[in-house]
């Protein structure tokens, strides 16, 4: 499974998005981490039967497709929110936003 964003980059987005819930890239980041875990888990699952292998491969493929989709989503929303894509720094306008979503 290809990774467009590495762990440090995704963690950096979450660290900055500390408190925001709504329309928050951090939620997408969390989903990406979960999909990576799900994918990894399927690769390590025991395949006692041919059917087992088929089940695990099906889930792994779906996780990979979902992961690709969510990474694409993350890139889009970061652009929409005008994050600095080189450093993945949250724009000042978002930082000033009051955390009223909690």
């Amino acid at each position: 499974m290809e990774e467009r964003f590495d762990t440090a980059q995704i963690s950096k987005v979450i660290d900055q998005a500390l408190l925001y819930q709504c329309a928050c890239p951090a939620q997408v980041c969390r989903a990406i981490f979960e999909l990576r875990e799900l994918h990894q888990y399927q690769l390590n699952c025991a395949n006692d039967t041919a059917n087992d292998r088929l089940v695990h491969e099906t889930i792994a493929r779906a996780a990979a497709r979902s992961h690709e989709l969510m990474e694409e989503c993350l890139a889009k929303i970061l652009t929409l929110e005008q994050w600095d894509m080189a450093t993945l720094t949250m724009p000042a306008s978002l930082r000033k936003k009051p955390a009223k979503t909690i």
Partner: protein
Amino acid sequence: MRQTDAKLLLLDSKHYSSALLQEELQRRGFASIFHCDPSGNLKNAVTGFDPDVVIFNHHYENQNDLAVCAAIKQLAPSVPVVAIASSGPAVKLVSARARETRQIDVVIEKPLSDERFFMVVGDLAAARQSVRQQQFHLARLSNLVPAAALEAMKQHPSGEAEMFEAAVLFTDIRRSTEMIASLRPEAYFAALNRSLSEQTRALEARHGTVVKYTGDGVLAVFRGMGRSRLALRCAQILAGHETQKLLPFGVGLAHGLILGGFVGDFQQAGRRSQYDVIGSTVHLAARLCSLASPGEVIMTRSLQAAARFEFPNLRPIGPVAIRGFAQSVECVAFQSVPIN
């Protein structure tokens, strides 16, 4: 939300996130928040601010910051540490660290998408404040209860009496009735408390245990090896103590078997009882104390012999007839400093 005076120490290497956290915590009633960079002067922050809860905002890019939790637990082992870390590998790393080292008490995942973090901080702060309050009351109560009573409660939780060998020391202020009449009550109390405080310090420094304050003096016991010597050395110091100039007192010493335990009504909860020591040795030491002049120590010859302690100014005062004792008791005395 209700205002709380709980003190929160916020460790965060980023100014932006620390400002945001402070704002959100303040919105929820936490008025006392001190921010410190994890690489800053932690010792000052912990000892100076004395927090109820430490919040550590972990940033994945600063993984070395995790060492700050070890430092916190070393400086303040009983202060709970709440770490927040981003979901994914960061929170797993911090959780594993918490399990392995127990340096982190609670781990919360970022982003903080509900009230859990704030509720955890509130609960921990309230628990810590409750412990603080109990410690404060306990310290005040301990101050009201003699050291011997606390020790007896520890050794004999069911409250049974105990017979043991001890050196018994009494002090008593001379001419206290005249002093009370000549001084303002507040002045007499201040002088008395200063004298008793100094006497207690001298006793405890030589492993003596105060059983009770007798109004104008102290009843203390010395137990274990070297008790007679320690008691005699302490009596010598007390007799020459500078507080003798304030309110002169005499000292009486005797040794032998005594009985220690709680007396009074302790069968029913809420009724009053107190720790005390009784026996002929206690009675004898009290009598010798009543015979002593200001700055004078009177003791039994047998205690002085057991102590193997010689004074140049020690003088035999011969057999002393003590009321209630069938035979006279051989005693010695010394005057530490002349009191005018």
